[in-house]
C-alpha cells in the first residue's frame, strides 16, 4: 500500500494551518508503515474537529457521538478483532464528555489506538476552555480565566496502568507517525496525546510556544519507558520544557487474550442462521 491509496475524496473542513493536518499526514504514514489494507482498518471518532479526520482518509469510518468514540470502537473491535481500530478524538471529546469511557477502557485494554488531538481549547464551539486548558486562560465563558486544574492525561493513564502512553506534536509529523505506528503495533490500549495548536482559538499554546518547549524524550538513550516511576515524572513535566515521545510502555494481557477471542471465530463470522437452543430450553424444564 502507498500513501495515495489512503486519499479520500472528501473536502477538508479544517481551518488553514490547523494542527490536524499534521496529524492526518502522520496517520497516513503510519498506516503505510503497518501495511494493512484500508478495508481492514477502521477509524472511529466522536465529535469535534479531530472527529472529522476519518473522513479525510480512505479507510472504514464510524463517526459517532460526542464523547462516545471509545465504546463504539471497542464494540467494533470485539465483533471483529481482525480490524485495526484507531480512534481520533480531542481533548473535549475524550477527556471531557467521554472521560468515563477513557478510564474504563484503559482497564478493559482492548487492542485499539487512541489519538487525542489535544489543542487545549474547544474549537468547534468557538473557544471555551477544555479539560486541558491551562490555568488562568481567559475565554468568553471563563471570563476571569480558567480556575479548574487541568487534567493530566498522561499521568492519569500511567496511574491506570495503560500499557502504551505517548505524546506527540502535530508539527513533527515524522515523529508522530512513528508513535502512531508503535501504538498500533502495541497489543492493547494505546493512548497518544498529541499537542496541537489551534490557530483560531488558542492564542497561548501556539506553534511558536511549543517550538521553544518540546523535546524528544526518547532521544536520551538512558530514558527507560518501562520504568513507571520515571515515566510518571516525565509525564508530569509541563512548563519550560515539554517532553514528547513514548513515555510509558508495558506489555500486558489484552482483553482479547483474557477473553480468548483469538481461539474462536470472529463474532461476525458466526453462522447464525439456525441457532439450536433445544438443549438450553430443556434446562428450563
Amino acid at each position: 500500500m502507498n500513501i495515495n491509496d489512503l486519499k479520500s475524496n472528501d473536502e477538508i473542513a479544517w481551518c488553514p494551518g490547523c494542527g490536524d493536518f499534521g496529524i492526518l499526514n502522520a496517520c497516513k504514514k503510519a498506516l503505510v508503515a503497518i501495511d494493512r489494507q484500508p478495508k481492514d482498518i477502521l477509524f472511529v471518532s466522536g465529535i469535534g474537529q479531530a472527529a472529522k479526520l476519518p473522513h479525510y482518509i480512505r479507510c472504514n469510518c464510524f463517526n459517532g457521538l460526542h464523547g462516545r468514540a471509545l465504546p463504539a470502537a471497542v464494540g467494533a473491535k470485539i465483533a471483529n478483532h481482525n480490524l485495526t481500530v484507531i480512534v481520533t478524538t480531542g481533548d473535549g471529546d475524550c477527556y471531557g464528555e467521554g472521560g468515563n469511557h477513557l478510564l474504563h477502557n484503559i482497564r478493559r485494554n482492548v487492542d485499539i489506538t487512541v489519538i487525542v488531538c489535544n489543542n487545549q481549547i474547544y474549537g468547534l464551539t468557538k473557544g471555551q476552555a477544555s479539560p486541558t486548558t491551562d490555568l488562568g486562560y481567559e475565554t468568553k465563558v471563563q471570563v476571569d480565566g480558567v480556575i479548574l486544574e487541568p487534567l493530566h492525561p498522561l499521568e492519569m493513564a500511567i496511574a491506570l496502568g495503560c500499557g502504551f502512553v505517548a505524546r506527540g506534536y502535530s508539527a513533527d509529523s515524522e515523529h508522530l507517525s512513528w508513535l502512531i505506528t508503535e501504538g498500533i503495533k502495541h497489543k492493547g490500549f494505546s493512548l497518544i496525546d498529541v499537542l496541537q495548536p489551534c490557530v483560531s482559538f488558542n492564542k497561548k499554546n501556539t506553534y511558536e510556544w511549543y517550538a521553544k518547549r518540546v523535546y524528544k524524550v526518547n532521544a536520551d538513550a538512558s530514558y527507560n519507558p518501562q520504568d513507571k516511576a520515571a515515566a510518571y515524572q516525565k509525564a508530569a513535566e509541563w512548563g519550560e520544557r515539554i517532553p514528547i515521545g513514548l513515555i510509558y510502555r508495558q506489555e500486558k494481557k489484552t482483553y482479547e487474550d483474557r477473553r480468548g477471542l483469538n481461539e474462536s471465530n470472529l463474532l461476525i463470522d458466526e453462522d447464525i442462521k439456525d441457532m439450536d437452543i433445544r438443549k438450553e430450553l430443556g434446562e428450563f424444564f
Binding site: 472528501d10 473542513a13 484500508p38 478495508k39 481492514d40 477502521l42 472511529v44 465529535i47 472529522k52 476519518p54 473522513h55 480512505r58 479507510c59 472504514n60 469510518c61 464510524f62 463517526n63 459517532g64 457521538l65 462516545r68 471509545l70 465504546p71 463504539a72 470502537a73 471497542v74 464494540g75 467494533a76 473491535k77 470485539i78 465483533a79 471483529n80 481482525n82 480490524l83 468515563n100 469511557h101 478510564l103 474504563h104 477473553r259 477471542l261 474462536s264 471465530n265 463474532l267 461476525i268 463470522d269 458466526e270 447464525i272 442462521k273 439456525d274 441457532m275 437452543i277 433445544r278 438450553e280 430450553l281 428450563f284 424444564f285
Partner: protein, 571 residues
C-alpha cells in the same frame, strides 16, 4: 374464576423466600399443574418484607389473584402485613412457638418450622425445606415430587446436606398432612407435564440467543439484569461476548459499534438507564445501525421503585431519541411473545437498519410461568446484510445509497474491498458529512417516511378477544395480557379485550375497526397518565371512555380489575 389455589411465602429478604417459591413451582409443575408466580421484593439484601406468590391451577393461567389461600409467614410481621389478603377459608402457616405467639388466631395453622428443622439438621437453615414440605403437604401433592425437586435444588451440595433437606421437607409435609385434616387445598393431580418454567427475562435472553445475538453489553439494572445473567450463562456455548459496561451510554455505544462491524447486538436496561441511552438510539437511527434495546420498566421518575412494576415509559419510549426517525416498539404480553418478539426484533432491526425496542416491565420480567415450549420454526433468523460471498462482487459501495424502500444494502467492513463511511452528522450517500438542503430532504425521507412505510407492512397484529359481541372493550398493552383475558372470561359475553404487543408504529389500521361503535372502550394501564388512551386519541381520533389505572407499583390482577370495573358501574 377457576379452581386452584394461591400460595404466598412471606418473610424478610435473605430468608430464602425465593428458594422456597422456586421449589414449589417445580413441585407443582411436575405434578402436571399450571403455575403463575411472581416475586414482590424490596430493594434491599436483608430484612424488610418480601413475598413470593404462586398460583396453581389445572388450567393454563397467566395472572395472579389478589388473595391467597395459603400464606406461609416466616416472621411475625408477615402475619400482620398479609392477613387482609387471606382468601375466604384461607390460612396463615406460622411457627407460633418460635415467635412466642400464644394468643388465639383462627387464621393461623401452627407448623413448628424451627423445631422440625433443628430436630433433623440441628440448624435453622433447614426451615426453608420444612416450609416447602408443609405447603406441599397442605396441597396433598405426591411426596415423591417433593424429594425429586429438593434433590435437584441442592444437587451441588454434599449428600449429607441433600438428605437432611429431603428429611426436613418430608417432616414439614408429614406434619401438615397429619395435622391439617381438611383437604380443601388439595389440587387435582394431572399427568406430569412437559412444560417449561421461565420468566420474561429468560424468554428474551433465549430469544436473543436464537436470533444470533453475538454481542450483549449492559449495565446491571433491576429488573432487566436477569436477561444479562441468562445470556452470560450460555455465552460460551454460543460464542457470545457479554460485556458489562461502565454505564448505559457505553453499553449502547458498544452495541452500536459491534453491530456496525457486523455482529447482531443487544442491550437491556430499565427506564433510568434508557434515559442515558436515548442519544444512542438516535445515533443508531442516523447511522442506520440495527440495535435491539430492552426497557424492563419499573416505577419512576428517577430511581423510583427499583424492584416494582409500572408501564409509565410508553410515551417516553415512543419519543425516545431526538429528531425524527423510524423505530419499532414491541410490548410482549406473555412469555411466549417475549421470545418470539425478541427474534422478530433482531430481524426487523437488521432489515430496516433501525433501533427496535422491547418494552417489558418488572411483572413480566420476573414472573415465572409454565409454558409449552417454543415453536422454533416460527422463530427463524432472517438476514439482511450483504453476505460474505456477495461482498466480493461489490464495488463503488455507498453506505447510504438512496432507494425506494429507504433501505440501503448493508455491507460489513472488511468483507467488501471498498471502505464504508458511517456518520452521525447528516451525510450524503457515501456517508460523508453534508449540509446540502436537497440531500438532507432525501435522507430524512429515507430514515423516516420510507422506513415507516415499510414497517406498516410488518405490524404485529393486536390480540383480540370477543371484540365483536362485546359492549365494552378493554384495551391494554404489555404485561397485562393475562389479566385482561381472565377478567373478560369472568365478566362474560359483554366484555372483550384488545391487547397490543406492538405499540409503535401504532397499529391504527388494525385497531380502528375494532373499537369503532363500541359502547365503552376502557384502557387498562399500569400508569397514572392514561398514556395509552392519549396515544389512541392522537393516532386514531378514538376517545377511550375511561382508563383503569394502577400506579402503586404493583401489578394488576383480575380481582382488582373487576372491582374497578364494577366501581365504575360499567356494564
Amino acid at each position: 374464576m377457576d379452581e386452584g389455589i394461591t400460595i404466598k411465602i412471606a418473610g424478610q429478604a435473605g430468608q430464602g423466600i425465593q428458594t422456597i417459591g422456586a421449589a414449589l413451582c417445580n413441585i407443582f409443575k411436575r405434578s402436571g399443574l399450571h403455575i403463575f408466580a411472581s416475586q414482590d421484593y424490596m430493594s434491599r439484601i436483608r430484612g424488610g418484607n418480601n413475598f413470593f406468590q404462586l398460583r396453581v391451577s389445572g388450567k393454563p393461567i397467566s395472572t395472579l389473584r389478589q388473595k391467597s389461600d395459603i400464606t406461609a409467614a416466616l416472621d411475625k410481621e408477615s402475619v400482620q402485613l398479609h392477613r387482609n389478603d387471606v382468601a375466604s377459608g384461607g390460612i396463615i402457616v406460622f411457627d407460633k412457638a418460635k415467635f412466642n405467639f400464644s394468643g388465639q388466631d383462627n387464621l393461623l395453622f401452627d407448623v413448628p418450622f424451627y423445631s422440625l428443622a433443628n430436630a433433623i439438621g440441628e440448624s435453622d437453615i433447614f426451615i426453608n425445606s420444612v416450609c416447602c414440605g408443609a405447603v406441599a403437604g397442605l396441597a396433598r401433592i405426591n411426596p415423591d415430587y417433593l424429594e425429586l425437586v429438593i434433590r435437584d435444588l441442592f444437587a451441588e451440595k454434599d449428600e449429607e446436606i441433600i438428605s437432611k433437606n429431603v428429611k426436613a421437607a418430608q417432616a414439614g409435609y408429614n406434619f401438615a398432612r397429619d395435622n391439617f385434616k381438611d383437604d380443601k387445598f388439595k389440587v387435582a393431580p394431572a399427568p406430569a407435564g412437559k412444560n417449561l418454567l421461565m420468566n420474561g427475562n429468560d424468554a428474551i435472553a433465549l430469544g436473543a440467543i436464537r436470533a444470533g445475538c453475538k454481542f450483549y453489553s449492559a449495565y446491571p439494572m433491576s429488573p432487566s439484569t436477569g436477561i444479562m445473567n441468562v445470556v452470560a450463562h450460555y455465552a460460551n456455548r454460543f460464542n457470545i461476548i457479554v460485556e458489562q459496561a461502565e454505564d448505559e451510554i457505553a453499553a449502547i455505544n458498544m452495541v452500536i459499534g459491534a453491530s456496525f462491524a457486523g455482529a447482531r447486538s443487544m442491550t437491556a436496561t430499565s427506564g433510568g438507564g434508557l434515559a442515558l441511552m436515548v442519544e444512542g438510539l438516535s445515533l443508531a437511527a442516523m447511522t442506520e445501525t440495527p440495535v435491539v434495546v430492552v426497557d424492563a420498566q419499573r416505577p419512576a421518575p428517577a430511581t423510583g421503585f427499583p424492584t416494582r412494576t409500572e408501564q409509565a415509559d410508553l410515551n417516553f419510549l415512543i419519543h425516545a431519541g431526538h429528531g425524527e426517525f423510524a423505530k419499532v416498539i414491541y410490548a410482549p404480553g406473555t412469555i411466549q411473545e417475549a421470545f418470539y418478539l425478541t427474534v422478530k426484533a433482531f430481524n426487523i432491526a437488521e432489515k430496516y437498519q433501525i433501533p427496535v425496542l422491547i418494552m417489558t416491565d418488572q411483572h413480566l420480567a420476573d414472573s415465572l410461568q409454565d409454558i409449552e415450549g417454543f415453536d422454533l420454526n416460527k422463530a427463524g433468523v432472517r438476514r439482511f446484510i450483504i453476505s460474505k460471498e456477495d461482498s466480493k462482487k461489490i464495488s463503488g459501495y455507498k453506505r447510504y445509497q438512496l432507494t425506494d424502500s429507504g433501505i440501503s444494502p448493508r455491507a460489513i467492513p472488511s468483507w467488501i474491498e471498498d471502505v464504508i463511511y458511517a456518520d452521525s452528522d447528516e451525510h450524503n450517500e457515501e456517508g460523508h458529512i453534508t449540509e446540502e438542503a436537497q440531500m438532507r430532504i432525501q435522507m430524512v425521507k429515507k430514515r423516516f417516511y420510507r422506513k415507516m412505510a415499510g414497517l406498516a407492512q410488518e405490524t404485529e397484529k393486536p390480540t383480540v378477544y370477543n371484540a365483536e359481541k362485546a359492549q365494552t372493550l378493554l384495551l391494554g398493552f404489555g404485561s397485562t395480557y393475562g389479566v385482561l383475558k381472565e377478567t373478560c372470561e369472568v365478566l362474560g359475553k359483554d366484555f372483550g379485550f384488545v391487547h397490543l404487543s406492538q405499540v409503535w408504529p401504532f397499529p391504527s389500521l388494525e385497531l380502528s375497526p375494532l373499537l369503532k361503535n363500541k359502547k365503552n372502550v376502557l384502557t387498562v394501564e399500569n400508569n397514572a397518565g392514561s398514556q395509552l388512551a392519549g396515544l389512541l386519541m392522537r393516532e386514531t381520533g378514538i376517545k377511550a371512555n375511561r382508563s383503569i389505572l394502577r400506579y402503586d407499583g404493583r401489578p394488576f390482577n383480575p380481582d382488582y380489575l373487576i372491582e374497578q370495573i364494577k366501581a365504575e358501574q360499567i356494564k
